[in-house]
Symmetry: T
Subunit: 146 residues, 12 copies
């Protein structure tokens, strides 16, 4: 049976639904977790769902996914723009990686336009809110079938 999909969320996403709702909407991270679990179930896949404010912990979460996960959905939030350590951890994965951003990072401040992760991700989805996670799961599932 397929290993679960790990969904890794970066700093400040634990505040979702309260933080800057005009940018990020009112959906909470728990809502997203529920949405993701439901979507993965439609593909017959289990879920690991994680959030951390800490770059080192996110590196560790990615390292753990090397053995335990069949694919990774990652929204590294602010660390997308600054963390080479997370890029390096992701480069050690052979499973497909989907990068998700709730907001459209290309429509915000210029320092958010570059993501270290994008160069190593299979796909990048941004600006579509919680639905972006569902789409990333669909894309992962399609690749896991091949």
């Amino acid at each position: 049976m397929a290993k679960p999909v790990h969904i890794i969320n970066g700093p400040n996403l634990n505040l979702l639904g309260t933080r800057e709702p005009e940018i990020y909407g009112t959906t909470t991270l728990a809502d997203i977790e529920a949405l993701c679990e439901a979507r993965l179930k439609t593909h017959g896949l289990d879920m690991g769902f994680f959030q951390s404010n800490d770059e080192g912990e996110i590196v560790a979460l990615i390292q753990a996914a090397r053995q335990q996960a069949s694919g990774v959905v990652i929204n590294a939030a602010a660390y997308s723009h600054t963390s080479v350590a997370i890029l390096d951890a992701l480069q050690t994965l052979t499973a497909p990686i989907m990068e998700v951003h709730l907001s459209n990072i290309y429509a915000r401040e210029s320092f958010r336009h570059h993501s270290h992760i994008s160069q190593i991700a299979t796909g990048v989805i941004c600006g579509l809110g919680a639905q972006g996670y569902e789409m990333a799961i669909d894309a992962l599932a399609a690749r896991l079938k091949d």
Copy 2:
């Protein structure tokens, strides 16, 4: 009843399936058209599907969508990186805009990392091949329901 969704494809996408298959895969544009039509049908939406190698024609296609379309999915290919005219045309739309790229533009040459369109799109999806179009349609449909 809702207006159709217009799907607009930029230069060289007519060659899809033959051009650099190691980057773009073997799916043809006709295959994508069929996929899109089927997906839109699941949402009860009609489709307009267009391709042009010409910046000016793409501007005209976008202008036409102002009256005729409830939403636009655009893969402007090379013009994403160079066309302010297409950006300006898109800025005249009030309907939601989904930007799609078959390949992961952030993993290619640096001159492909910037898309003028991204700053005005609702969502950006890239690297997921033909499935990216389906996901863009899902995202549009969700927004048209709201």
Copy 3:
């Protein structure tokens, strides 16, 4: 008798009056055409008035002006910022060239601050809406008298 003045308008200007009225106002391109014709008449000059969304067509319009026009007023819109082909076409003219922008391009996004055309124009007028065309005509007429 003097040849007519050609007034060449670039992409998306056909939407004038409907597109982003907070930037471009409610005057339509037909309104501008009428204003220009009237102003040229006060100088005893005929008019050719053109709009195209297509870079190649604008190049052709400029080439046509080489034989047929005593001067050119050009608002190349988005192509001002991206087209070397239009610059090259303008460089083949010996008649005076007036560059017009309806909005103040220097008060907008930084990618609109540079116009390839400005380096070759006799004069540049921007931010003054339709009146800018009238002023460009006055400036042309003054130079045609000399």
Copy 4:
């Protein structure tokens, strides 16, 4: 009755007609003053006409215009490219501001391509010599009527 229009000229413009005539022509600043006064009269407007080589004095002239002028035409010459103080003074005005340059600054050395003033001006006119002042006056008059 409307307050006068203030016309403010920057450094070295007092030499006009003698300085680099191949760039600036033979018209003197007194000629421009006369032209401006005549033009303003056609609009029923009075004139204040000033020249200074001093950045601080120009700041003071602009401050004075806050109470005394219905609009400002400014050719800040070299200070256009270097003075944030003049920009700040202009930002305190509510009256419309017209920026004029005798020569086409975009066709000269690259350090003359950027004007701090342009971002705050209503309109920018350059390359049209003394006629540019007349046109700026027309543009101001039109806006004062509205």
Copy 5:
């Protein structure tokens, strides 16, 4: 009664008084804590005082301040220059934020001249050593009174 003011200190500030005294002086972090507590008392305010070498912990400290603090004084030290995650956490606060640096960062290496935090802070105070904290507290207190 007003919530306490949280004072958050970044990496290596625990070494204060021993680390590079020619730049940072001989005052220890405990000295600063005492100074701050005394100053807050003069304004009738309580204090939370924190130090961490860890970016993720600082994010968590800021998140905690959302509910618990009436204002934040932050000296993020090295993370000022590199952390978008801390910026994002600060952007979720509605309480006023004071940024403090013991040394004058603008007089040091160029990579210390930019602070991500400054764009979101109410005020920035640097180069004034421990006194800068006292001043930041005064500034916070003044704003809390309004």
Copy 6:
């Protein structure tokens, strides 16, 4: 007895209270003068208070402070960003220098993020309005006691 503290204000600060109140508030320069005098009195110090729109005059004011002042508080406004002459004058002082900005210059346009003065100032305080002057005085007084 200690020499007075000189407080030097740059261009357009004479308009304070009327100019862009959403950025600078409604406090006038006379208000700030009164605040400063009162604050200096608490430290037993006299005051010289100056404002000029002129770079050269500000250079002269700083030169005068070399003999006459025990310390300088300077808000050079726009000249902070453009004047090497003021930097050079300040470098001739041995007395401590406090740089003040009413608004948070790091939260405004990017050309306001760099101040020539910061590299030579003892301390920099910005974004705290008139209170910033009081704090600069406190910081000066503390250093004069040492």
Copy 7:
């Protein structure tokens, strides 16, 4: 028998011989066509000769060459510097590509120093006028023999 060689000319080259003769000489495009045909004949090769002012048409011409041509000589003129769409079309060819410029683009304005096409061309020849086309044909013919 070998397929013909396609010779594709970009914008404003239809004006050759009249446009800026001090840069481009007095040879017309018809002269070049005749020269090319003669040279190809010496190699036993047929010719397709095309000119367009339109980026989209040039993309189409290159796409057509995929099936119909054994090699391509391209002088994309202004589009060399701005068109990623033409680069993408050329990347779909397996036949050899020769880039020609009549003038020495490296001795002109800096925005003409970079050609998108050069990175994909087999060879680049510039500054040698019409003879450059003949040389490009020789180079193509040599590679077609191998």
Copy 8:
């Protein structure tokens, strides 16, 4: 007797031998630990050997080395390129610092060419795999004898 040498390893080095072996080889971190211990023994020195994925923990490890170590060998991996906090911690050491990279960072992506640590290290060794650690130990030992 001399204090031990601390050897500090950064993020993802715990995966050594499995992660991208074409870049980093098949030696594990345990292998390196054994090599280092043996080498230090030849110099009569003890070892502290550490690895962390966490920037803050690495800062703490460096701070601990201030009292406990006679020298530091550091391979900060990805944090070399992004961490000012680690640089600041290292600047508090008086013991010699040797920077090691297993791969040649100058032969990889350009964002790996700059290391914040290099400016403060005594020596930099890169591209020599595990042997680089041994050489760093030799270099430290030589300096500790002096």
Copy 9:
């Protein structure tokens, strides 16, 4: 008889001999004036000697030199690096211009490496203290003889 040579000195040079003597030495401006007068006398030339802290006054001094001086020696100090107005004034001169700097500006901070004046000066002499003025006079005298 030849007109005098004007020697124009910029901001803060009135402090010479007291300001940063480790950079500028102990010679005063009066000393330099005496040296220059003596040197000019050896060439049979009269002197005008000026100093101003004010950019506008320096512009006026240069304008005056147009009629009154046979040549200009200028040490614009800080304004060398920031003033386009002074450059423009100098461009109106037909007399030869010698640029002098007491210190070697190329060995100081990078913002002092560029002088607007250098592009228009006949000769540039820097780093040679007061002797640089004497040499500039010699160079002027030689050119006035030709």
Copy 10:
């Protein structure tokens, strides 16, 4: 009778045929010499053929060509990208200069995209291997006939 054509080859070209054959092919420099001599003979021209690894010697070779050669073909290899001295020497020639590169420098590392020589060459030919020399000779011969 016409002077010979000098063919000057830069550093490492003596290794041709052995060095990186996947970039430069297996033709040796002696092969190229023979090809060039034969080609020049068809134009009735003699040859001087030179190679040096030394920038100074290449400068001397170019200086010698001033008197002795009717034209120069130069492949300065690595010095193309770094040598202003060679550019200066070439600028002293009145004979035509043809720049040749065996490989397509625009398809290689970015530091090879710029050649100092190109700005002064009559023509530039690159990517065509040894045939490029023959073509350069043809182009020279054509110009020597005129």
Copy 11:
């Protein structure tokens, strides 16, 4: 038996021990030669030891090493930062290359931070003085054994 190791030293290294001893120490190049010979002997390897101030000679020394050396240790000194010719020569070697710098180039002026050689070297060692040569020899010897 193995070929010797060639040790190639660049410009000004002949002055070692006298030139800037605060940066380079008092060890002479003869001392280094002796150290290297001794170290190579411990590995059973012979030595070629060279120094040249001339870029072309260094190119020739590297070319000679292609046949004669089993490995190269190079300290190209100033040419590391400026010579593409030396890079190209090194790229023709199949033997391993060790780059050595006596001082820590990353702690000096920014123009010394980039070495063309680093991208092609197997290993880079800097800041460790003469010991760096010994370590480079050890690293070479280890690779020659494999």
Copy 12:
């Protein structure tokens, strides 16, 4: 008795008087040698006069000057802009160094505006032709007297 002054001339200066006389004039290097010898004699100093087209030889000439010369006048021509090796050689001198350029390098192409040598020279003189050498000698002589 004082050691001689060495005057070192860089590439292409042997062509002086014939090369680009509109920039460099008609004076030959022999003329300059004679002028220098005469001038040095007035100061009671001997001369060494050198020219080389070779960077390595110039390095050697500078090294020789360490023992043999009391001061150096250097016109490194093109190598001024590209040679770190010459800079390094000059840094080993304790004698004063005068940099001379015949033409005004700041009024020429931008790649000539930066000289590596300027940062280490005592004085820089440019644009004054052969007289610049005489002035450099005077400046040297003055410093040798001190």
